[in-house]
């Protein structure tokens, strides 16, 4: 059992939770993730990246968007309640080193959360870090203040222009690649389609680009093979070989297809969870009316 110490709602569907997990807090490094199961029997194992950790306090922070059945169940948990299971840290840590030309970190939506410890580590190693933070609109932007304090430069953009530049993250990324200070490395974390286009943007410039993949996963320990992706023409397993790979070598179209494997089943489950949530809120309403 893992206790939820703090829960915050950052925007409509985005939540941050601080979990009591001393063993993971002690072992984790930037770029790693956890697998959690909100409840016991019949619950699902889902991978989530680690947004932060405090070794002294023995805590790990996760950040997630309640979009699927299990993340919605997770979002319904309150402070003081517990998650049935939490396993981690999983995956290989980010390869952090001092790079001459600086690093550009591109985050889409809640991809900002796992990027946070990576930027911390990059800065600690003495790198110049430029962050491009993008989201569909202002309400989905997270970590803007944290990045402003941490990074050498922050470029905010939204699809609708409600905050920062009205642009996709690939526009400033292309400009940086074209500029005199071409980065030594680009790290992209966000929706798969964003990472695919970041990769396509940097490829003509030959800028080494790393993407952190979030594929379908069951065990997360190198046993099931559900998370496999094709990288450089070879099968790789995100849980033990990743989650970070050379973005130019990833077969993005294959990965995007595999992510849709359970679309029908998932939408069915989501409807069930929605129905259950509706019933629950109905019950709360009725109770309040009785009062």
């Amino acid at each position: 059992m893992t206790k939820i110490l703090r829960k915050e709602r950052l925007s409509k569907d985005v939540y941050r939770m601080v979990l009591d997990a001393p063993a993971i807090a002690r072992a984790r490094k930037a770029g790693q993730f956890v697998i959690l199961m909100p409840d016991d029997e019949f619950s699902e194992r889902i991978p989530l990246t680690i947004a932060d950790a405090d070794e002294k306090a023995g805590t790990v922070t996760i950040l997630f968007q309640a979009v699927g059945a299990t993340t919605r169940i997770l979002a319904a948990k309150e402070e003081g309640q517990s998650l049935a299971h939490l396993l981690g840290p999983l995956g290989r840590p980010t390869d952090i080193k001092k790079l001459e030309g600086g690093v550009v970190c591109v985050c889409g939506g809640i991809g900002a959360a796992p990027m946070y410890p990576i930027i911390q580590a990059l800065k600690a190693a003495g790198n110049r870090v430029t962050v491009i933070l993008g989201a569909r609109n202002e309400s989905l932007l997270v970590y803007e203040n944290e990045f402003r304090a941490l990074a050498d430069e922050l470029i905010v953009c939204t699809d609708d222009g409600s905050q920062g530049r009205k642009a996709l993250v690939t526009e400033p990324l292309k400009e940086l690649c074209e500029s005199a200070e071409r980065p030594s490395e680009v790290i992209a974390i966000g929706p798969p389609i964003m990472m695919k286009f970041c990769s396509a943007t940097t490829k003509p410039f030959g800028v080494h680009t790393v993407a952190s993949l979030n594929t379908i996963m069951v065990d997360g320990t190198g046993m099931c093979g559900g998370c496999r992706v094709t990288v450089g023409g070879k099968i790789k397993f995100v849980c033990v070989d990743g989650p970070e790979f050379d973005a130019h070598e990833v077969d993005w179209d294959s990965m995007l297809r595999r992510l849709g494997s359970y679309k029908e089943e998932e939408s069915h489950k989501c409807k069930l969870v929605e129905a259950a949530a509706a019933l629950a809120s109905q019950a709360t309403l009725e109770k309040e009316q009785v009062k």
Binding site: L86, L87, G222, M223, R258
Partner: protein, 504 residues
């Protein structure tokens, strides 16, 4: 004949035979050999292919007694030498034949903490039953004394008694504490066996399990219809009575390294029994399509995550009407039979050789056939074809013929050029075994491994790193439950000797 009638007939027949044999008094070897092997009562194939309940229902008491009477009581006990954990088989059979079931169960428990699991999934026909004199006379190990079925009867009876409300609750006697702590990595059959043996020797044992439930392959791999998960849970938890601690959700190699366990956490020795690793794929076009699964993934979803229960489980199981399973081992049979139960209408096993070379247990193949699984022998896929959405719609297979025996001693399959044919399918499951898991070896460079990544051990299960032992699939590549248990037993002795020779 209906299911119930069939079962009643089996029971009645055994009851009258038991009486008849009891009336005879002492039985000659000839009398014993004249007794036919008792059939295992089982669910009707047409019914069970639509449910997850256990296929084999277990012997009735009369059947267990009659079957045990078939044992000739050979003085040299050849069957015991065929058992990787050396259960005193003739003794428990004689006790069963005499109706002393509690004693018989105790005899088994002296050597095995997991009899309900072993009685169900051990390949007895290749082990104890392969050495049985009765089978030798019959020239068929399948006709030997059905040792596993009697073991299962005793284990199930013992479990039921222990679970009954008026059962005396006695914790197992604890030996004097040795003062040593041992960490076991993985709670599969090998880890559990080592843990039990080490606890009995007085060591303070902690098992670390990465999953949320203990049991390893017995939980994630072997389906409910072959091995009910409640039994695995019970047998694993029975170790806690010996003082063994089971810590789930803990991945050695990531949460903590082997070095940490030895140097920081106060363990005197570590036993690595991490089991199967990354699933093997075929390296053919189309393996990344939606609807291509490793058997590990398909079975883990269904077994560990209970995805077969579509109403309740949050983990989805891919819906497919026509499924092809590539491979011919027990895992392939499990995957095929699971997909039938998950709603497939047409399930086929595609295997490169013929039935005679198939590594799966005869009983599993027989059960699969009864349930309607189709077998395509001498065939192998060369490509998987997808539709416009990237979902599997067909597999191209090639015909094979058998050639000379290869390194494994089995006839080498040879592809027949131009023999390609297309199988229309919606999903396929690759059941070709596993590579080794890199998590522990990758973070413990001192461990010497084979080129395939399996840990190298000596005859005591000791690795190249002091205080670290290993066994099961991470050493053997692909073993069976009982072989993994045998490794656990051997390592427990090795660890005990090592610790006793170590200065405190």
């Amino acid at each position: 004949m209906s299911d119930t009638k069939k079962l009643e007939a089996l029971r009645a027949e055994a009851a009258s035979l038991r009486k008849e044999l009891a009336a005879k008094g002492s039985l000659s070897p000839k009398d014993r050999r004249a007794i036919a092997q008792q059939d295992m009562p089982s669910q009707d194939p047409q019914v069970r292919r639509h449910n997850m309940n256990e296929v084999a229902l277990g012997y009735f008491e009369d059947q267990a007694v009659v079957e045990s009477l078939r044992c000739l009581g050979c003085a040299n006990k050849p069957c015991v030498s065929g058992c990787p954990v050396s259960i005193d088989i003739p003794s428990f059979l004689a006790q069963t034949a005499a109706g002393k079931f509690d004693e018989a169960y105790a005899t088994i428990r002296e050597s095995s903490m997991l009899p309900a699991i072993c009685g169900r999934v051990c390949p007895q026909e290749k082990q104890c039953m392969a050495k049985c004199t009765v089978g030798k006379v019959e020239k068929d190990p399948e006709k030997s004394v059905a040792i596993g079925r009697v073991e299962r009867f005793l284990a199930d009876r013992g479990r039921a008694l222990a679970a009954s409300p008026n059962a005396p609750k006695v914790a197992a006697p604890r030996p004097k504490a040795s003062g040593f702590r041992v960490a076991i990595v993985g709670s599969g059959p090998s880890g559990l066996t080592a843990a039990a043996d080490l606890a009995r020797l007085g060591h303070d044992v902690t098992i670390y399990e990465a999953f949320h439930k203990p049991g390893g392959v017995a939980v994630y791999g072997i389906p409910e219809f072959r091995l009910p998960k409640a039994i695995v849970e019970e047998e694993a938890r029975s170790l806690e009575l010996l003082g063994v601690k089971i810590v789930c959700d803990f991945l050695v190699g990531r949460t903590r390294t082997v070095h940490d366990l030895l140097e920081k956490d106060g363990f005197g020795a570590v036993y690595i029994a991490t089991g199967a690793g990354l699933p093997k794929f075929m390296g053919i076009p189309g393996e990344d399509l939606v609807g291509v699964f490793s058997a590990n993934e398909y079975l883990t979803r269904s077994n560990l995550m209970k995805a077969y229960d579509r109403e309740n489980a949050a983990t989805p199981l891919y819906s497919a009407k026509r499924v092809a399973v590539f491979g011919g081992g027990n895992v392939a049979m499990d995957a095929a039979r699971t997909s039938l139960r998950a709603g497939a209408d047409e399930v086929r096993i595609v295997y490169r050789r013929t039935e005679a070379e198939m590594p799966a247990r005869v009983e599993e193949v027989h059960h699969a056939k009864e349930e309607g699984v189709i077998f395509d022998y001498l065939a192998n896929p060369t490509a998987i074809i997808g539709d416009e959405k990237g979902r599997v719609k067909a597999a191209v297979c090639q015909r094979y013929k058998l050639g000379e025996p290869d390194a494994s001693g089995r006839a080498k399959p040879i592809a027949i050029p131009g023999s390609e044919y297309t199988l229309e399918i919606d999903a396929c499951i690759v059941a070709l075994g596993n590579d080794s898991n890199p998590l522990v070896t990758g973070t413990t460079p001192e461990l010497k491994t084979t080129p395939r990544g399996n840990i190298i051990v000596d005859e005591h299960g000791a690795t190249s790193m002091r205080g670290v032992f290993a066994g099961g699939d991470i050493v053997q590549g692909a073993a069976t439950v009982i072989l993994a248990m045998g490794d656990g037993r051997r390592a427990a002795v090795g660890i005990d000797t090592y610790l006793k020779g170590k200065k405190r």
